[in-house]
Each structure stands twice: as C-alpha cells, then as structure tokens.
Symmetry: C2
C-alpha cells in the first residue's frame, strides 16, 4: 500500500518543528512518492528547510518531492493533508505583551489563567494567531475541501474548536503532551512501551482514566509511590532538577491528583489555578527549583533552548558537508502526526490521541467543543469512543472553567469589542480593581504591533 499524496506544511520555516515532520516522513516508506509543499513567510528560513529536506531525503534514499513556496494557497490547493504549525509573530511579540501585563500587576501576563498557564498557549491575546489559523482553514475549505487539516500550532484547544465551528474542514488537533503517561509508568518501575493508558479531557487538561500493565490496574501503585517514595524522590529532584519540564511527578501533579481524583498527564500539570502559580516562590514549591516551565526562570530556559536548537539545526542545514542523518535517530520520533497521515491515506486503522469536536465522546461536555481523546483513525476518518466518563469535580471545577476561557477567547476573536477583554480579567484573582483591568488592556492595545487588534477590540 503506497499513497502518493500532496502534503502542505504551513509555518515550515521553523526548523525545530519541521525537521521532526520531515524526519518522520522520511522514515515512512508507505508514504513515498508523495509531494511536500513547505510554506512560510520567512523566505530565508524556508529555503534552508527545503535544502535540509532534500539533502536528508537523498541521504536516506527516501522518495519525496519537497518544494517550498511563499504562496499558501498554491501549497494548499488539492492537498490531501495540510499541517499547520505556524505561530504568528514569534515569541518576542508575546513576551512584550507579558512584560506590559506585568507592569500592571498581571504576573506572567493577562493571557495566563486557571488551567492555562502555558506561556505560549496564546488565547485572549492571540488575536493574530486565531486569525492566521482561521485563514489557513478557510483556504483549506476553499482549495482542498477534502483535505485533512492537522492543527499542530497552539492553542490546539481553542483553534480546533474554532475551525470545526467556523468551517466545514476535517480538522484534527495534535499535541504530544499525553506522552507524559510514560513518565508515570517509569516512576512506577514499568516499561512505558508496555503499559496501556487512557487520558481524556481538553488539550493540556487531560486526566489519566486508565493505566494498566497486562490488564493490571496500576493506580494502586501510584498511591503507593506517593505514600512511600514521593518524599525521597522530591528531595533528590529539588537538588537536581535541570529541566523545568520535569514535572510529571512533581508535588503539583500529586496535589492535583489528591484534589481532583485522577492523575494529571503531561501539560496538564503545568496548569491548575493560581494557587500553584501566584508567584515564583509558589511555583518553586510546586514545580521545583526552576518554578516549572512557565515561571520567568523556566520559560527563559525554554526560549534559550529553543533558540539554540533552532540555530544548531540551521547550521546543519546550511553546511552540505555534514551528514544530516548522523544527528537523528534511525527510527520515527514518537510524534503521531505522520503515522496519522499514513493511517488515513493507506487506511491502516490505529488508535491515536486526537483533538476533535466532542459529539458524545465525553459525557457532560457540549458536542461542539474540541476534546482530547484516544480515537481510531483510518481511511474512514476518526471513530470516536462514546460516553467516556470523568469525575464531576474534574468536569465542573476544571474542564468547565477551562471551557469558559475558550468560549470567551473565541467570542472575543469572532465578535470584537472591548467588553469581553474586561470580563476576562474580572474572573481573575490578580485583578485588584476595574481600573487595573482597563489600564492593562489600554497598554497592550497601544503597542504598535497591536494596531489591527486594537481596532478589533475598540469598545
């Protein structure tokens, strides 16, 4: 079975992301013969990625036709798959809004809220990002109406919901955060590849509803780990934590488990209410010495690392004397993007963690809200499970507040006007006065970069 496809990758100039996709394609012979259109607004970076892809493909003898274009519609036209990895504006733009917010008393920015503390999951201040993602989706609707749109760029929860409501496009949102279950398995002494798991909810807010080894429920071992091993683990971890992202077994995760009844998985642990995030000191207590990935410390580490990794890849890409394959493993990564393309294109059913409109998958949530669930994906599309259950406290004290923020962010984007921006902050324990809320938005909207956004939100 070999499908010759057209695949468009939007935002391919970000080599840190696109190199992974390219690597996985090159290690998927069942997709050989396909063409891959790489799109970006940064011509220099795009050329670099195109060269990288071609050279890497020839090193491996993998049969793909890679080409680059600045014309998004040309790339999308008649595509079978469109992968959107594009983040509008670059990190610097959002860091500037964060700085402005902090000057007005909003630590880590007005965008951070209960259950979305992830520093580049741009929702209420993501006007341009929402616009870009919707424009891509509308292009798909018009120029490739039968294509699958794989939404990889964040905020996956908001954008998958937005696109599925506003267009007729087949959209799947993808994230790798659910792989956090592997860390849990490792902590319990199990081979992550041999355990079975289920984690459901919204993207970045998923909860472990199943963890088994050969049919045996491992939850009692989590309880045992907490009782007998956590203290020692944390003592060592507090001394040695190098990676701010090393928080799957943190005190925050265990505390969330105690409070809500299921273990949080992956990026979920980065969330929670302000009780975990009020200031750096609080974050350090819950997320280790760096304060976790979303403290001012951890986020600086992330940005620096991302920068360093990107420039390393760019160096590799621009030096023809270096064999690219020597920098990469000889198998696919554990990203599900390319396997999903394969499952759909070659009708090879397999189960993946996807973000799709709920339509009955999880009880107690509306049908038109994107949930993150395991689903069978094949040539026939996405086959959702039905009637999955979550405890009432997770539904109503976690997912509903998170869903409210999504609905407010989508409404702000779709309808404009100043009111919803103010209301956004009237639900925030950092807000001390109405004046503070008005002023921080004034300041954000008067940034020269936000001229169009300011017109949209003019009251």
């Amino acid at each position: 079975m070999v499908a010759k496809l057209k695949i468009a990758v939007i935002g391919a100039g970000s080599i840190a992301w696109s190199s992974k996709i390219i690597h996985d394609l090159l290690h998927t012979p069942t997709l050989f013969g396909s063409e891959v259109a790489l799109v970006d607004i940064d011509a220099r970076r795009l050329k670099l990625v195109e060269g990288f892809a071609r050279r890497y493909a020839s090193e491996l003898g993998a049969d793909y036709k890679f080409y680059s274009t600045a014309d998004r519609r040309e790339a999308v036209r008649d595509a079978d798959f469109v992968v959107n990895t594009a983040m509008y504006g670059g990190h610097g733009y959002y860091e500037k809004m964060r700085e402005v917010s902090e000057r007005h008393g909003y630590y880590r920015g007005v965008n951070s809220t209960e259950w979305n503390m992830v520093s580049d999951y741009h929702t209420i201040w993501g006007y341009y990002q929402f616009k870009l993602a919707l424009e891509v989706a509308l292009d798909v609707e018009q120029y490739a109406p039968n294509a699958w749109l794989l939404q990889v760029a964040n905020p996956v929860f908001e954008l998958t919901t937005l696109i599925s409501r506003e267009t007729r496009v087949n959209v799947i949102g993808l994230c790798h955060g659910h792989l956090g279950y592997k860390e849990i398995a490792r902590a319990l002494g199990y081979d992550p590849e041999k355990v079975e798991f289920e984690a459901i909810g919204f993207n970045h807010v998923i909860w472990l509803t199943k963890l088994t080894y050969a049919g045996r429920n491992l939850y009692p071992l989590i309880d045992e780990w907490i009782e007998r091993k956590a203290q020692e683990y944390w003592a060592r971890w507090r001394l040695t934590q190098r990676d701010p992202f090393d928080i799957q077994m943190s005190p925050a995760a265990v505390d969330m488990y105690r409070r809500y009844g299921l273990f949080p998985v992956g990026d979920t642990v980065r969330g929670g209410t302000w009780m975990y995030h009020r200031d750096l000191k609080t974050k350090q207590q819950w997320f280790g010495p760096t304060g976790g990935p979303d403290s001012e410390v951890g986020w600086m580490v992330y940005l620096a690392r991302h920068e360093w990794y990107s420039s390393l890849l760019e160096k590799i890409a621009s030096d023809p004397g270096v064999p690219i394959s020597s920098f990469f493993p000889q198998t696919r990564t554990d990203e599900s993007l390319v396997p999903i393309i394969n499952s759909i294109a070659n009708d090879q059913p397999a189960t993946y963690q996807v973000n799709v409109p709920n339509t009955g998958a999880i009880d107690g949530l509306p049908g038109d809200v994107a949930v993150e669930i395991p689903a069978e994906v094949s040539g026939k599309g996405v086959k959702r499970p039905q009637g999955l259950k979550l405890p009432g406290k997770i539904l109503k004290a976690v997912l509903w507040p998170r869903m409210l923020r999504m609905e407010m962010a989508l409404t702000a984007f779709l309808e404009g006007g100043r009111q919803i921006l103010i209301d956004w902050l009237m639900l925030d324990p950092r807000t001390k006065s109405e004046k503070q809320a008005e002023e921080v938005w004034d300041a954000i909207l008067s940034m020269p970069e936000n001229e169009e956004m300011a017109r949209h939100y003019r009251g």
Copy 2:
C-alpha cells in the same frame, strides 16, 4: 371549567409569601373547590397562616379547604401541585456566613459572584437549601409523581436545574423579576400593560430581546432616553432614591446595555461583574445612594422591611376583629404562580415567564440547564419556543460564567469535598492568596450551624 385540586405549599409559614399565594387563589374562581395543604416546620407561624387563609376565604366567600400540617409527605401525597417557597435557616444564618466572609476579605460574602450579587440567592453556601429543595422534589417524585412542582424559593436557576437533572419531577421555576420590563416601558412614557416584551437568559440574568408597542420597536426610544433624559433622571434619582430596588433605569443598567448590547431586565441589573460591586462607593455610583439592594445598606433596608411586613401580616392574622380583605387589592397580584396552576389544571393555554430545562429553547446553551423564557403553559404542559438567539457576548461573557458558577455549586452539593470550594474562590478577584481562600472556608465550616455541611465538604 372548575378543577378540584390538591395544592401543597411548602414553607407556608412565611406569611409574606404565602399571603400572596392565598390572595391569588381566593381571586381565582376556576380553582374553587380545591384543597390547600400548608406545610412548615414552624408550628406557630403555620397556624397563623392557616387561620389567615380560612378567615380571608370566608370573608370573600371563596370555596377552598385550607389545612396545615407539619408532615410534608402527607401534604405532598397525591397533590396536583406542590409549591416550594421554603428557604432553609432564615436570613440570620446567611448573614452570619456573610459576616465571617467579610472578616476574611470577601465583601458581601463568598457566595456573591459575577452575575449573582443577590444577597439571598444562596448557591455555594446553600448546602442545606439545596438539600431541602431536593428532598421536597424527591418526595414529589415518590408521593405525587404526576404533580407539577413550582419552585419559587431561590436560587431558582440552580434548584430548577438540580431538580430537573436529579429527579423525574415536572418542575417549573418561577420568579417575578422579569416584570422589570414595566419600569422600562414607564420610563419611555408607555403604559406597561400595553407593551409586549421578551426577556430571556437564566433566572436573574435575563436580557430584553423584544420591546414593542403596537408592533413598533421601542429600542430606539431607549437609546433616545439614554442620550437625552438619563442624566436629568439620574440627577433627580440620586437625590431622592428611597427604594434600593429602584435600579431598573440606573447607570448600571445603562452601562450593561452599552457593554453587552441588550438591556438587562429586573434582578439582572443587580448582577454584573465586580466592576459594579467592589465596595459600597462603587455600588453607589452604579446603583444610587443606597448602593442598590445588595449593598450592606440596601440589604439592611430589605431585611428590615421584610421583617416589618411579616409582623404586620402576623398582627392582621392574629386579630379576628380586623377584616383581612381591607388590606389587600380586589384583584390578583401580578404573580404568575396561581395563573399557571389554572392554565395547567383547566387547560387554559397562556404564555408565562418560566424557568425550565433549555432543550433547544435558547441557542448556544446546553439542553439540561434551566433557562428563563416565555413559554406557553397549558394542560399539555410547557411548550418551549425553539432557537431563541442572544448576542455572543451575552452568551459567552455573561451566561457562560454564570452557568459555570451554577455547575460548580451543583457539583459541590452533589459530590462534596473541599476542592471545589477552593476553586470557587480561585476565580474571584477578591482572592489575594490561596491561604485567604482556605481560611475563609475553615471559618465558615466551623460555624456550629454548619456541622453537617462541614462533614460534606471535608477534603
């Protein structure tokens, strides 16, 4: 058409409420011949109300069989209608929780939130009230499965939703707040009895979707009133406002209209985010010199007036020498409770403002949430309109946040545990720290009155 019914009134000892129901029954000849079971846990007050009812009936020559009982199930058994007006604990109990809250920095109490600032609309601290209302509903389910339960006691939004989810009882929630449209008509110079209106949303959060006179849309006149007359009106009103409830045309109402696009009706004006309610001074700017009904001033006025009115009625009831009818008008009040009983019992279709599960009535809201809408009520039951529309900003910045609080309050009541109480305050701009939230709940739950509630919320 004369139906001989059994009607049970739960909480009838509160003469301020029950005297209205009795009055309206006595002025509804099509229900003559019915028996009315009055129930209360306060035997003295109940006897007083029973005497009042019998004497008033005989004065008017109205044929009803009134009797009182402390046995709720006896009253409910085989009833055709059960009216629940009971508020657990009396005002003093809630005022005590408010005081405790205020000592911990929660002005007007932890129960007050965005879009529920009404001082006796008890949600998160309404454990006993929820329990009582659900027990009454379960009695109805068991002993009078075909009866209609008319839920008059607040919180109508929460309790109607709760009962409709947890029992198979036919429930309608009733409130008279929508009559605020009459004030709007009067301000515009129109006879309130001659205008037509529609106001929809959730109980206490309803928005004017229609106001017409002989087919003419009156909204442009509201705009004109705001532009030309509001300033003068408010200047006079600031000098003369005697009734804290006189806020239908307040600056708060007009500001909400500007922000959300539709005019708020009745108790809706008492809501809004903390921007209208932060402290007495803020409340005074928006709601007049008393700060509106839900400031510490306005609420004192309400409680004192309620006390005074109740004791006056008790005096009338206990003095056989006084003709009761001389204290009351000769027609029905504008409450819809008794007319609704008549419409159902005698199959006389008419349109009423009711609170019932949405099931498609308002677009963009779940089916199992109680909405307040106009609906035709008859012997066939409640015929909901379908597909009513509200602006996205009202849906997502007002109704969704309000719905979230309802869901959290219901989950707290149904599932218990401490977590959801804390999360409730992590969405509150009054919360300055996690410690503050923990401490206020510790203080509330250690009140001797809250022993059972504390067990329920033990973490």
